[in-house]
Amino acid sequence: MLSRRHFLTKATAIGCSLAASPLVTPVTFAAAPWDTRLVVIILRGGMDGLDVVRPSADPAFAALRPTLTAGKVGLDLDGFFTLHPALAPLMPLWHREELGFVHAVSTPYRDKRSHFDGQDILEAGTDTHVGQVRDGWLNRMLQVVPGLEADTAYAIGNNDIRVLRGAAPVANWAPEANLRLSPQALRLAELVMEEDPAMQAALAEAQMLSSDLGKPNGKGGAEREIADFAAARLRGSARVAAFSLPGWDTHRRQQHALPRSLNRLSQTLLALRSGLGAHIWAKTAVVAMTEFGRTARENGTNGTDHGTAGLMLLAGGAIRGGRVYGHWPGLAAAELYEERDLMPTGDVRAPVAWIMRGLNGLAQSDLERSVFPGLDMGQDMRVLR
């Protein structure tokens, strides 16, 4: 066994490595130049925006969705749109104007409707899929502000957060990776890694991140852990967090599949809100976006297929919510894209660009040239309070 003195020596050594570590930033280090919080959620699989925020008053809608919109009535939003009943827990946010949507938006990606390419373009934030850009737009946003500490931004989950990949340092963590060693095994692991400063620092950081999570409250699944972890980091020195929620590819039995995913989404948002607390939530913007929308018509298996324009969700106290943004293109046959999909009337990158303009004070020229090369931000959409 190790002696007590040995333990103390170890503790001191770890203390030193913590201070030197790029991830563990004492207050004396320069933090991000903004105090607001930005959370980006990638909804993987192609969320059916037409079923989530339903254009109930559009004369063509009911005929396009005979099965999917039958039964449970949506929750009225503004007299034109109704909200999917599975998002009922979010209605209080809507009434407080902390929840909003942008409808009929899409990436510049067209026609092939592949998840793979669609997500690549969504996270790269580029015009087309030409392979020249290997980093993500959220990372390029960080690159605009030189000298940021790595713990300014967290990519949370299984290494699949391409939107944060790139040259700017970013912290990665999956709650699933929590250290579960006995205290003795942990001390020995520290001893073994002592000869290798990089591994030693990584282990020390892993310990800090694991302990930070606190006890799981038992409710909710992986997404709840992720939301709790994100909230814990954002209460500290982190200013940006990104993670993904899968499960939106509803080709069949959408009445059953979609509510499950919507329930996870609303749990995530509510966990973020309660985890952040009213004070930080007030300066937070949450953006949830998906690679494409789905077909206007339901298909033969009570589902929908890959489409084009979709829906973006905005939440947080910094958001001017309580409204559905975007230009509604209509659903008549001639108004559809290729006679099948909701017509895109806005670029999904534009609202995010305006949010980063207002929230993080980025120059419009940086946003249009570096963060989203080739984007025309257009008129200020005033999605922030």
Partner: protein, 461 residues
Amino acid sequence: MTGFSPFLAEHRFGYGQSADIPPPSSISEMLASLEGRDRAQAQFPIPKFRHLQDAFVLRRRFGRFARDNPDSAEGKAALKKSKDVLRSLRRERSTWFAQLQLRRISGNQGFRERLVTFWGDHFTAFGKNNILALATPAYLEEAVRPHLNGHFADLLTACITEPLMLHYLDQSASVGPNSIAAKRRPGRLGLNENLAREVLELHTLGVNGPYVQRDVHELAKLLTGLSATRNFGFKFRSKFVEPGAEIVLGERYGPEASIAPIRKVLQDLALHPETAAHIARKLAVHFVSDTPSSAIVDHIKTAYLKSDGALSACYAALLEHPDAWALPATNMRPPDEFVSASLRVLGVTPAMLHDLTHKQTRRLFFRPLSLMGQPWLRPEGPDGFDEEDAAWVTPQGISARLDWAMNAPARLLEELPDPASLLNLGVGSDAPQSLSFAANSAENRAVAVGLVLCSPAFQRR
């Protein structure tokens, strides 16, 4: 002049030492192991690409029937069959994983297996639909393995013309703007530069190579015609070919609408001095250090150029250079190699891996590898997995390795090995004192094993 050591021959150039298999005794033995019959492949076979094509056709057929007959019992049965095709293929993938691990852990051709991984990563390709997402093992089997020890030009040509690569980098749908096909459907079909760009940037000259956008564009036009059938068989579509000759790096190719000028440009790119430098550097970075000396890079490059890109000459140059045997070892084993080296040093047998269910394989390997940062055969993009050590020494990566090393061995083995002999086998005779101490003081054997596997001495090679 070299510092050859049997330990490093396995530790740095293979999947580490094994209790049952003697390490190579010389460089020439290592090089000889790359020639002749591929015994590991014969002993642990996996299906060819054709198998996946068949599954794709079957699934589409059932899926179409189900879609056309959504309400009938036959339609519902067809839907289930279509799902089953994918499900059973996913299960099979677990058995391919086991077979590919066994090639690494139970034979004496570790260097050969490491090269399969190295070149498979250099020519990264994976599918963008459910079935083809499972096709990378078959691709490595058919495009990479047969050409490991041949000329780089042949390896390059094999990978670039493989249907999985044509699909992955969008070449199959790239159509010359003035081709017959484009004129038939104006505005609908066009050129895609993805593969052309990656050939220059990743596969041959390297990102700092002497090419400009115009070369990318010309090469893209030259590559038109390389395509696939709707069932992902290779097909040269002359109707997609852009008419006329193209000029790439000052050389003129074409104008005939055939694969011959494409073979020629790949051959020329393979023999370009910048390609030699790029490949030499990449080999040195992968096997020796993130910051290799210019001496070893130049040595490999010279061998490459002298031999017209014979890879066997490059490997010989790598191994005969003293830097190849220098200590201390700094390169971090990537997760995929770390796991295989652990299985090898633990003496995991074919029966143990063959007994695993799909679910167990997922829990013991696929999920942990993803958490460690290296989902199996699935890098983020065409540039493959990181070579940089810092990419792997992250809090999450180290935490996931510790978790796996302390728990997975006990789930695989009935009896865990004696920590002292594991230590000797895994890190050699001069283990750091702190490691011997820790392995001895652990509260149980599982922790001791985990500490040895997670030690810097085992993880860095």
